[in-house]
């Protein structure tokens, strides 16, 4: 029972150099909480002072932006991939 979280190049230095991390299934919020618990340095890059995802952080479940799903409540089933996409390079905009 596992999901894969892919880490963009810019953030790998805060995630032990890993391009991807394997975590237990759950909601996007739960998975990102587990990720930042494992790699605390990632936290300030993803969350603002209020503890919400920073407005320009792009999270995808499979090929879909979570803004078009249920946000951080989006369930991530076993075997699915959560991607943190760079905010720019054109940026995944919607």
């Amino acid at each position: 029972m596992a999901v894969t979280v892919t880490i963009p190049t810019a953030l790998r230095q805060y995630a032990g150099g890993n391009a991807s991390v394997t975590l237990a299934p759950g909601s996007v919020g739960q998975i990102l909480a587990a990720l930042t618990e494992q790699y605390p340095q990632l936290g300030k890059h993803l969350y603002n002072e209020q503890g919400a995802l920073r407005s320009f952080v792009n999270i995808y479940v499979g090929d879909e932006d979570i803004r078009h799903l249920q946000g951080i409540e989006t369930p991530v089933p076993d075997g699915e991939t959560v991607s943190i996409i760079p905010a720019i390079a054109g940026g995944a905009r919607s």
Partner: protein
């Protein structure tokens, strides 16, 4: 303005290439009413360039340099890795000068961006979004290595003609437009060409001019075209870290708020990196009792209109920036 006749004021530039540079220097008069009266903040309106951004300057200088060195000639394609304004500058100038253009860029580039580049006739090679610009750079280098005779690779990160464009145009324009009164220059680092070239020119005119480089608060940010020099794997060869008197870090959220604030208080619709430059310029200006602070409005807002941040304001825009 009655001091000059229409005859004297009329702009006689008639080709697209002649329109590169000589942009207006705007005084930001309403952005911060609390600034001391003897502190002025000015910004170069770079969207007046024909390709819509400051990048027309280095693109033109690198193209002309390539021609002079015989690397770029009819039938040779201009090839580079760029998701943004430099690509639009190559495509614009390439079309006007009769050169074809090939660009590598991450596949998550905005639809406006892709449409502009394709409309200008550029050939696009799309790379993995997760890998950011690094994958695009590697792809274009491989392509050029495979067929060196087909391509001219300007390599804006390492081409001295990039900062030279600013040493020979942006810097002298700012010097003349401020009557030699500029005391502070503030600009974000991407390739670092704008900061290096303009900074070097201004410092050569007046060693007391202070130079401040703008940086995002981390490597994962939304400041289009800006590079986090402390962590990037690919530090531009043209970057000299000893030139700046200081580094000013700007959060992406503060740049978003400033973009909204500039629109409402100055009537200026600018891009995110331009807004970041203004955040930094104001931070400097607020510390002064007198001075002339100059920064760069890298581009206008047209390419960013589908960004969500324009809607994020809650009526308190301008607070905290």
């Amino acid at each position: 303005m009655i001091s000059r006749t229409l005859e004297e004021r009329i702009d006689r530039r008639s080709t697209l290439v002649e329109l590169v540079g000589n942009t207006p220097l705007l005084r930001l008069t309403r952005i911060d009413p609390d600034l001391p009266p003897e502190v002025a903040v000015y910004a170069k309106a770079e969207w007046y360039n024909p390709g819509g951004s400051v990048k027309d300057r280095p693109a033109l200088w690198m193209i002309r340099d390539g021609e002079r060195r015989g690397l770029l000639r009819p039938g040779v394609r201009i090839a580079d890795a760029t998701s943004g304004n430099t690509g639009i500058a190559y495509a614009t100038l390439g079309a006007a000068l009769g050169y074809q253009v090939t660009l590598a860029l991450p596949a998550n580039a905005s639809p406006e961006r892709l449409r502009i580049l394709r409309s200008l006739g550029a050939e696009l090679v799309l790379t993995d979004p997760l890998e950011g610009m690094d994958a695009a750079i590697r792809r274009i280098r491989a392509l050029v290595q495979e067929h060196p005779e087909r391509y001219f690779y300007p390599d804006q990160y390492n081409n001295p003609a990039n900062p030279r464009a600013h040493e020979e145009s942006t810097g002298p324009e700012i010097w003349v437009q401020t009557g030699g009164q500029v005391t502070h220059f503030v600009a974000a680092l991407g390739t670092s060409g704008t900061f290096m070239g303009t900074g070097r020119f201004l410092r050569a005119q007046n060693p007391d001019v202070r130079l401040f480089a703008v940086q995002p608060d981390g490597p994962y940010h939304a400041l289009e075209g800006v590079k986090h020099m402390a962590t990037t794997a690919l530090v531009p060869g043209i970057y000299d870290p000893t030139l700046a008197d200081g580094i000013i870090e700007v959060r992406s959220e503060d740049a978003f708020a400033m973009a909204r604030h500039l629109a409402r208080t100055e009537g200026l619709m600018v891009g995110v990196s331009a807004a970041a430059n203004v955040v930094a310029a104001l931070r400097i200006a607020r510390e002064l009792r007198r001075g002339v602070v100059v920064t760069i409005l890298c581009d206008g807002a047209a390419k960013y209109l589908s960004d969500r941040f324009w809607d994020d304001g809650d009526g308190r825009d301008g607070e905290g920036i």
